[in-house]
């Protein structure tokens, strides 16, 4: 149980599952990809689909290339008889936030949160340009790697990193992913050529398909469903101005503010799961959170090892929670991002009961 509670109800992550993240999954429709992870978290808790109080998902029609694509995956949830359900057109970390709020209101004791993305049918670098301001940015089609590269150059010019240090971030992430059977890139990966300089292949996330699911539960329900619940002792999300030229790209004040509001700075953490799809973004996030070398960062390999769009942020929360479940962590921070150059950031602090 959390030592201090800033919220009306104590809510914990009690189960987490993710798919194997693969470059392509042509043989699977989205519901076929999502169903195994839904069954896995239900089996882990012993809950039946009809016993879940609230269901929330995160995905994007632009990845699927079709409108209301999320309605198809509802078949995998068992949405009949009617369930209480919602969806965010964002990473599933924000679906988790909505579910957490629903539990805080007292309208639900348990929630199923899932997220998925298939990037393989389209060109994700081009697809993501459609989330940009349609007046000044989208007509130029600046792709996600290009925008991250502008941020990387700003960091290098500011003396906060260099290309060798960035390469080391990618190498460390993929080495850590050796122990993650779900990761797409594991072990040694060539740093490769410049994609958009100064970012090389090794600084960029793999493009792939994948899904993840989490079950949240409140208070006694959490204790009943999980031996060591990962209590969400703080959660907050913040956004920055959309215009990249209005921002200091070497910093992430929204991450810092979200962390403050989530109580992150109240006590040390042992683990950080950071959603940094580009190596340079880990530099920004470490600074924003003031993480020292004593914190284990991305033991799962992070988004540089597997970055299924719309699920990668939820996976950070799930990975942090799973470490608490198995006793490898007592206090962890999970971070999720959305939009160009870390525009939107969510921070969750997770804690396990102390022995």
């Amino acid at each position: 149980m959390p030592t201090t509670s800033r919220y009306a109800r104590d809510v914990a992550v009690v189960a987490f599952a993710q798919s194997d993240h693969l470059r392509r999954t042509d043989e699977l429709s989205e519901v076929e990809m999502v169903m195994p992870v839904l069954h896995e978290v239900l089996a882990a808790t012993g809950l039946k689909a009809g016993e879940i109080g609230f269901t929330c998902s995160g995905s994007s029609d632009y990845l699927a290339g079709r409108a209301f694509s999320f309605t198809m995956t509802l078949d995998g949830v068992g949405a009949w008889p009617p369930i209480s359900e919602s969806h965010v057109e964002m990473d599933g970390a924000w679906a988790l936030y909505e579910a957490w709020v629903k539990i805080q209101t007292g309208e639900a004791d348990t929630a199923l949160v899932y997220a998925y993305g298939k990037s393989s049918p389209g060109s994700v670098r081009d697809v993501l340009t459609r989330q940009l301001d349609p007046y000044y940015l989208a007509p130029l089609w600046p792709d996600s790697v290009a925008l991250a590269a502008l941020q990387a150059r700003a960091l290098i010019d500011a003396g906060q990193t260099d290309e060798a240090a960035l390469a080391a971030v990618g190498a460390r992430s993929r080495a850590a992913a050796r122990h993650n059977p779900h990761a797409q890139l594991r072990g040694s990966v060539a740093q490769g050529d410049y994609q958009v300089a100064p970012l090389r292949t090794g600084d960029c996330p793999p493009v792939g398909d994948g899904a993840a699911a989490v079950i949240l539960a409140a208070g006694d329900s959490a204790r009943r469903l999980c031996e060591r619940p990962a209590w969400i002792t703080g959660i907050d999300h913040r956004i920055e101005a959309h215009g990249l030229g209005l921002r200091d790209l070497t910093d992430s004040p929204s991450t810092r503010l979200a962390a403050e509001r989530a109580g992150f700075f109240d006590a040390p953490v042992d683990t950080a799961e950071l959603h940094a799809p580009f190596s340079s973004q880990e530099v920004v996030l470490r600074k924003a959170l003031g993480l020292g070398d004593e914190v284990t960062v991305n033991p799962s390999g992070g988004a540089l090892a597997a970055n299924p769009m719309m699920a990668a942020g939820l996976i950070r929360i799930g990975e942090a929670a799973a470490r608490i479940h198995r006793g490898a962590s007592d206090r962890a921070v999970a971070h999720a991002t959305s939009g160009p150059c870390l525009q939107q950031n969510l921070v969750a602090v997770l804690e396990g009961d102390r022995a």
Binding site: S29, A79, G122, Y135, Y136, L140, Y194
Partner: protein
Amino acid sequence: MTAAASPPEVLRAPLVVEFPFTRSLGPVQSAFLSGLRDRVVLGVTTSAGTVMVPPVEYDPVTAEELRELVEVAPTGTVTTWAWNGSPRPHQPLGTPFAWVLVRLDGADTAILHALDAPGPEAVTTGMRVRIRWAAERVGAITDIACFEPADDRTDPTDPTDPTGSADPAAAPVPHSGTFADPVTGIVAEARLDYTYSPGRAQTAYINALAERRTVGERCPSCHKVYVPPRGACPTCGVATTDQVEVGPAGTVTTFCIVNIKAKNLDIEVPYVYAHIALDGADLALHGRIGGIPYDQVRMGLRVEPVWTDGGRHPDHYRPTGEPDADYDAYKELI
């Protein structure tokens, strides 16, 4: 008739999504884009005195409404850049170029665009650049064709450079924002290309249709047969794997009369669109009813598919001539 699902033989097809959104511009964006058309660059001033280019309508810090426009110079300084060795479709230049954020002289914020330069060695943070205007300008951000290196070597925003700080171009000039024939909207064109794969269950369904057979899938838990199958039972939330051939005939469970002709549709109105429960299916699919006057279609009507040469799916359904089905036979499927 039940058979184990055959191994996936993945179907793929190109899927093009195009969307020309027509967007209206507010007073600030209208002035900015009208200005670009006339080779004038406008910014907006905040109450703190910050000049933002490109201009926004509300202060990102205070949320205060911003309307005070100023003109800034077409020259500026690169604040950060990235070398794009392989331009992608639709990007401003077809040859390798640098993405740049440029703080125009007189502005305090930076604008994103492309810089035409011979190679990455020719680009540095802090370099001086100027706008290269598009030959034809319509009132869009692409009226700036790109930036190009400027031959002036002074940085007017550098206080240690007396030549630069004296540059009159650095001072923004108040501007009314009024233009003849102002641009009030843009069309945001976009095209995204996908290769769509429908997955295992729908692939099996589509392949069977090519043989003029309709296959559904049975839920292993509740035993309902879904047509078309999507791979999951929406009631039980489990995979449906056993293929079941259904039909070909079925029963109209409910219908509507369509009186408005859809664009590009070669069917005379009025016509009937119906839910049809194929024999052996536990879910009605939908299709058009033909071969009978529209006002004689009724619930319980027995129908069968009509295939046209080369068609990958039934063109429509027509009456079989059998007696109507009893209401009790299909009431659960409405």
